[in-house]
């Protein structure tokens, strides 16, 4: 078991440019079931992907792949033809919010948006548009979602992941890789890793992710990685206190960040004294979360949170 995506997830890609094509190729090599692409001016064409799979040599799995991905003019047409139940958005920032709304209009259950640099106002409108619709948005400005050895939607390197017991949820990309790799090395592995993104306005948040992991039978514990800015970690702490039945470990980046400066991510800014790392760490610790003192200790903190087995 896992959350959000698994081996049966059928994935569409919106935004088949150079980046989108590259990551579609790596997703297929990983084993993701990519079923179609959406491109307004290339409808009717196919895009061919072929090569050696990541699991080449593993008994019972394919060594090579060749996929002819059909291209559709609209998300609705792609869904109708392929039965896709997820979409990944690589569309450039000025058009990305429209792509998200188009996917929601076609009632795609899961839309994972990788694009970085979408105007805040566009995301405010997109989130308003999503209200009351059955679509779950992950991102934007995130590495994506992966269920190891089943489905990889996004830009994360597949090989650092391994199937296992821990749900991972994070606002950061490379810091997630760091965390996932530690969980792979210490043998805990991951059920699903969710990148919720570094923007101030995003879809799925910590609370949504914690709730999914809480009811997933395969997940024994959660590692959450937050950073300065906003109050999503504080809201997560309150939710954990009230509802979480599984152990949670965490790390918060930005204890040394100066106030008022944006640290790379659009959402990583301490403003008006709000959103400091210390406030987040205090809130999470008081909710029983084991906080890793440094990023090197994220795997160890997760082991500690799980307790003696």
């Amino acid at each position: 078991m896992s959350v959000l995506v698994g081996k049966d997830t059928k994935v569409l890609i919106q935004g088949m440019g150079k980046t989108g094509r590259f990551h579609t190729d790596t997703a297929i090599a990983y084993g993701t079931n990519m079923v179609g692409a959406v491109h307004p001016s290339r409808a009717g064409e196919t895009e061919v992907f072929e090569g050696e799979t990541d699991h080449s040599g593993v008994p019972g799995r394919d060594d090579t792949y060749r996929v002819e991905l059909p291209i559709f003019r609209t998300v609705a047409a792609a869904v109708e033809a392929t039965g896709a139940d997820a979409s990944v958005v690589y569309v450039p920032p000025p058009f990305a919010a429209d792509a998200i709304m188009e996917a929601a209009d076609a009632e795609v259950p899961l839309v994972v948006t990788i694009t970085e640099g979408i105007p805040v106002a566009d995301m405010v409108r997109a989130k308003r548009y999503l209200e009351g619709k059955p679509t779950r948005l992950v991102g934007p400005n995130c590495p994506g979602v992966i269920t190891p050895e089943e489905c990889k939607i996004g830009i994360m390197p597949g090989y650092i992941h391994t199937p296992g017991r821990i749900g991972v949820v994070s606002r950061s990309g490379t810091l997630t890789y760091e965390a996932v790799y530690q969980l792979t090395l210490n043998g805990l592995g991951q059920t699903t890793a969710i990148g919720i993104g570094g923007d101030p306005v995003n879809g799925t948040d910590f609370v949504d992710s914690l709730a999914m992991f809480n009811t997933d039978p395969a997940t024994d514990g959660v590692l959450m990685i937050g950073e300065i800015g906003g109050t999503a970690e504080e809201e997560a702490a309150a939710w954990i206190e009230a509802n979480m039945t599984k152990p949670v470990a965490g790390f918060i980046a930005g204890t040394s960040a100066p106030p008022g400066r944006r640290m790379g991510h659009a959402g990583a800014i301490i403003s008006a004294g709000m959103g400091t790392a210390d406030a987040k760490i205090t809130a999470l610790e008081s909710a029983g979360v084991v906080i890793a003192p440094t990023p090197t200790d994220m795997g160890a903190a997760t082991l500690e949170a799980l307790g003696p087995s």
């Binding site: 106002a121 566009d122 830009i155 990309g173 306005v201 999503a232 980046a253 100066p258």
Partner: protein, 406 residues
């Protein structure tokens, strides 16, 4: 992106949002020349001389070169002495302020050089209020925030008297509705003509904020004049950098002299860089990892000199540029390169580091931690380069090693 007060007021005025009359001046002569038309048009003998820098606290700020001169000066000489007396005093002030360094609570001890003045008509104030439009991250909506406590920092009001803060959410589908604007206006105690002018002001401001893709619009103080008019006495506007592509006229308002030259250069190379006060330079891929690298340097007892995220798809040239920006900082006594290769391959990073060192030389210790995609190839490139560097096994090991070496 931030702009100056006078630019914010020009944007307000163009949208029917009331502001005092004013003129910008970059020379003493321009400052003096602004006085007569302002006094004649406003029929008020008082003018105000305001420093234009991208930092708050100007009124309480003082100049390094002239410790008795404030960043904002009310000139009342015109009341008894007429326009000539006002002109003389403005000239004297402009002489002291232009080119001098203003230190405020927000500039840091180094202060900021004042290159522009804004000469504004005096306003007879009845009440000072607070107004802002900003994103509420918890609800993913913009909100209008208002308070009767003008002139003080809103953080202070929020901490001490939160009941004095009024908020209304802006639905992106509808904008600020008239009843919401009235509700804020009632909360601020507006009545009669002031109520009308206040509602118009509030709706205009909410519309401008959405139309211009602002991160923040803050008017502190918002004033009610003795004639009952609602007016922006100050104006701070910050724009969403990701939306500037659709506002070329706003992008043109950027004043690069207000920005750190190293940060500007980094931006030109597509790098995300923030200058800090420490002595250990860092080069990292990914914003979260870059922040965590600064944190771990601090945890082991060091001080980071910068935040630097080379991004997920940097090429050799960008890596070299990043390296040069770090080494150009005279405070830097050591460099820690911390990479977790995903899409970004470790061999690309290694080649970039080698190329940069060959080009600019290396006079400080260098610790490199590589992990992830093509890590062995990356390490091999570094080993074979003959560079004098230290390899680290993980982040903590790297932070400890660079601290030992500096």
């Amino acid at each position: 992106m931030n702009i100056h007060e006078y630019q914010a007021k020009e944007l307000f005025a163009a949208r029917g949002i009331a502001v005092p009359l004013g003129r910008v001046a970059t020379t003493v002569d321009e400052a003096v020349a602004a006085v007569r038309p302002l006094i004649e048009e406003s029929e008020n003998p008082v003018v105000v001389v305001k420093s234009q820098i991208h930092a708050g606290g100007r009124g309480k700020g003082r100049f390094k070169e002239h410790p008795d001169v404030s960043g904002v000066n009310v000139v009342t000489d015109g009341i008894d002495g007429g326009i000539e007396a006002a002109e003389a005093r403005v000239g004297e002030l402009a002489e002291q302020m232009l080119g001098s360094t203003l230190v405020t609570i927000q500039t840091g001890a180094d202060g900021k050089q004042v290159n522009r003045l804004y000469i504004e008509q005096g306003i007879d104030i009845d009440r000072e209020l607070y107004l802002s439009v900003l994103l509420d991250r918890a609800t993913s909506r913009n909100i209008v925030m208002a308070s009767t406590e003008g002139g003080t920092e809103i953080e202070e009001v929020a901490a001490n008297t939160p009941e004095k803060i009024i908020t209304e959410e802006i639905d992106p589908g509808f904008g600020l509705l008239p009843f919401q604007a009235r509700s804020i206006a009632y909360g601020l105690g507006f009545e009669g003509d002031t109520l009308k002018s206040g509602v118009k002001f509030l709706q205009g401001l909410a519309r401008a904020a959405v139309e211009l893709d602002t991160d923040l619009v803050e008017i502190n103080p918002l004033v009610v004049t003795i004639d009952g008019e609602v007016m922006a006495l100050d104006g701070k506007v910050a724009f969403d950098a990701n939306a500037l592509y659709r506002h070329p006229s706003i992008a043109a308002l950027r004043d690069v002299t207000e920005e750190d030259p190293a940060e500007l250069e980094a931006k030109e190379h597509g790098l995300s860089f923030v200058k800090l006060d420490g002595d250990i330079g860092c080069m990292v891929n990914g914003a979260g990892l870059a922040m965590a690298t600064m944190d771990i340097i601090k945890t082991v007892g060091g001080e980071p000199a910068n935040f630097l995220d080379v991004g997920g798809g940097a090429d050799k040239g960008q890596i070299a540029a990043a390296f040069k920006i770090i080494t150009a900082d005279p405070n830097v006594k050591g460099i820690f390169v911390n990479i977790f290769g995903g899409i970004m391959r470790c061999d690309t990073i290694a080649e970039g580091v080698v190329a940069a060192v060959e080009e600019v030389g290396l006079e400080v210790p260098l610790v490199v931690r590589l992990e992830g995609t093509n890590v062995e190839l990356g390490k091999q490139i570094l080993d074979e380069s003959g560079l004098d560097l230290v390899s680290a096994t993980d982040m903590k090991d790297g932070a400890e090693k660079i601290l030992e070496l500096t």
